[in-house]
């Protein structure tokens, strides 16, 4: 086979045109900050998560799901209003529906507290519902200690996790299928966006390149997934062994303790919002808390903070505990320092 110069030039021209066309296509893919992470992952060839809502069921809507999450109520498909999902709580008693961590790839309670302060959010025991649909693991770590076999089905199934939360955590009724799908439909409106992931320009370019060239997609998927937690770690811890001395910390920060009291304790207890146990800023209340802090009583913040409370006959709602990832030992001591400071209490 002989290749003359003319044919060679034609071949080179064709290659150049092809390269130029391909380069032009690559340049056209630009990720937007408000683009859904799940959508990008799917475009990269990732397996879709199994909790997309089934919108074929009658009555399924984002509005209904939002109503259930925020108020416990929603309009019924046939008219009227559903019975309140829980008499005691709404989802937002324990979960934010906004982003609550500055860096979604780590569980840092102090960073979360400061983020909550800056963004006017409460500081809660439950993980934010924002981005819940992007996670693949639920009731992680030591939650098995609390709920036993009940977490088995919930660990890798968001529907089961929501149902466990509905019936156990909030001591309410199970969601009907259309209600569950509505809640999922709402949760998909507060899924993670690319702008949440703190990607550098180079990382954006890497992902865009992988999408455009259809190569190194697994690396891009891994890169995206490294920017957020696929599940919230949960480490159950005990109160300090010596409750009078408290957790061993170098120093305490009263201002940090104030934030914890206001954004966490008062979120549920102020004006008996979600609990009949009322808390406020009065000296009487703070003295009471300060006195009981090191004790083995239901009024001890160590006790209820680390162990939560339990349902008792006639009073089913209970307080969830703070895992180490939701409140550090340092924060617990800061909270104690604030309460003792405001109470005029000295150890």
């Amino acid at each position: 086979m002989t290749i003359n110069l003319r044919n060679l030039l034609c071949l080179l021209l064709a290659c150049s045109l092809l390269y130029a066309w391909k380069a032009a296509v690559v340049e056209d893919i630009r990720l937007e900050k408000d683009q859904a992470v799940a959508e990008v992952l799917q475009q990269l060839g990732d397996e879709p998560v199994p909790h997309y809502p089934d919108t074929s069921l009658q009555g399924v809507s984002v509005e209904a799901g939002k109503g259930i999450v925020l108020t416990g109520f929603a309009p019924k498909p046939g008219g009227g209003t559903i019975n309140k999902q829980s008499k005691h709580y709404v989802c937002t008693a324990c979960h934010n529906v906004e982003r609550e961590d500055p860096d979604l790839s780590v569980a840092d309670p102090q960073a979360r507290l400061e983020y909550a302060r800056d963004n006017g959010l409460p500081f809660l025991q439950g993980t934010a519902l924002y981005g819940a649909v992007n996670r693949t693991s639920f009731y992680n770590g030591d939650y098995e200690q609390k709920y036993g076999d009940l977490v088995e089905d919930a660990r890798h199934d968001l529907r089961e996790a929501i149902q466990l939360c509905a019936t156990e955590c909030s001591q309410g009724r199970a969601l009907e299928p259309w209600e569950m799908e509505s809640v999922l439909a709402y949760l998909w409106t507060i899924d993670l966006k690319m702008g949440d992931l703190l990607l550098s320009e180079a990382e954006y370019a890497q992902i865009e390149s992988a999408m455009a060239k259809q190569e190194k997609q697994q690396d891009a998927i891994a890169l995206i997934k490294s920017k957020y937690l696929s599940g919230s770690p949960a480490t159950f811890v005990d109160p300090p062994k010596d409750r009078k001395a408290g957790y061993p910390v170098d120093s305490t920060d009263v201002e940090n303790g104030r934030l914890l009291y206001e954004l966490s304790c008062l979120h549920c207890h102020e004006n008996q919002r979600y609990s009949f146990f009322n808390l406020d800023d009065s000296k009487l209340t703070l003295r009471h808390l300060a006195k009981h802090f090191p004790r083995y009583t239901q009024y001890s913040v160590y006790q209820v903070g680390r162990y939560g409370t339990s349902p008792v006959p006639g009073s089913k709602p209970y307080m969830p505990n703070y895992t180490l990832e939701k409140m550090s030992h340092q924060q617990m001591e800061d909270l104690r320092a604030y309460i003792e400071h405001k109470a005029g209490w000295s150890r």
């Binding site: 309140k84 008499k87 005691h88 102020e270 004006n271 008996q272 609990s275 009949f276 146990f277 009322n278 406020d280 009065s282 000296k283 009487l284 209340t285 003295r287 009471h288 239901q298 009024y299 006639g314 009073s315 709602p317």
Partner: protein
């Protein structure tokens, strides 16, 4: 009375009612000792209550013979109230009924009581210095009619004679974390009364809560009926109650002493004929249990 009403209306208008830093729990319970407080239940909350008044602690009917009144149940009230909104509470109670005239003639017995309370102004830092609420009570005796004696209340010659009504305005202020005060002008109307008695009685109540610790509070209330008939010479006495309120961290328990025999307003305001100074006061308690509905 008209002046007070005008003054309160003026206060409600002058102060910014939209202020957000409301005083919460001026009183910890919807009752002080005898008097209803300005407090309403939260929306969708049910308060099941059982109140009990024992017999006279001392005096002719008390002492060792009745184990200081503990062997007698002067009045018992069982019922519940429900928060329709954060400011409107409705209630329904059945009370035994205990009040009597000085001559021993019984007032209403086996009484069904409906209550409606509406708080229309809530104390707040930037707004009103007081909370204002109104209470209406309708009481109906379900007791069997005693025929043949038109001179007694329970003759019930007309169905309307079974009824008594009560309305009151509550003006309360949480002065500090330790002190709350309430003023309670009221009007009580009985459809049937004994000869020479008055159907309508105005009264004024004063009440206070002194919080001793987070858990323990001292509560007291005093009600003075305004009626020519109602003085010590005629065998009637003002109503005084003192009690200890215990906040268990979710529920309020109350132990009290009062010279009132009846628990409901339609009972104790017109029919208190027992006197503290004669040892005619009794131990009482209230168990209250809140439910979310």
């Amino acid at each position: 009375m008209r002046f007070i009403t005008l003054l309160l209306l003026l206060m409600a208008v002058v102060y910014d009612l939209s202020a957000q830093d409301y005083a919460y729990r001026t009183f910890k319970d919807s009752r002080i000792v005898n008097t209803q407080s300005v407090e309403t239940l939260g929306k969708r909350r049910l308060d099941v209550r059982i109140a009990h008044r024992f017999g006279d602690l001392l005096g002719d009917n008390g002492g060792w013979a009745t184990f200081y009144g503990l062997e007698n149940a002067t009045d018992v009230l069982i019922g519940a109230e429900y928060g329709l909104t954060n400011d409107v509470t409705v209630g329904f109670y059945r009370s035994k009924g205990a009040g009597s005239m000085p001559d021993g003639q019984a007032g209403l017995r086996q009484v069904l009581n409906g209550t409606l309370k509406y708080r229309f102004v809530q104390q707040s830092e930037e707004g009103s210095p007081v909370s204002l609420a109104v209470l209406g009570v309708t009481s109906m005796s379900a007791a069997e009619r005693i025929e043949g004696n038109p001179d007694i209340i329970r003759n019930f010659s007309s169905f309307s004679h079974r009824f008594a009504y009560h309305g009151q305005l509550m003006v309360a202020s949480r002065i500090s974390d330790r002190l709350a005060l309430q003023l309670t002008p009221a009007y009580t109307h009985r459809n049937v009364v004994p000869f020479q008695d008055e159907n309508g009685i105005f009264s004024l109540g004063l009440a206070a809560r002194i919080q001793l610790t987070r858990v323990f509070g001292l509560i007291l209330d005093y009600t003075q009926p305004f009626s020519e008939l109602r003085d010590a010479d005629n065998g009637f006495y003002p109503i005084l109650g003192v009690g200890l309120e215990i906040d268990s961290g979710g529920h309020i328990f109350q132990v009290n002493f009062t010279n009132a025999t009846g628990i409901m307003e339609t009972d104790y305001i017109p029919y208190t004929t027992t006197n503290w100074l004669d040892g005619e006061f009794r131990l009482g308690f209230t168990i209250s249990r809140l439910f979310n509905l």
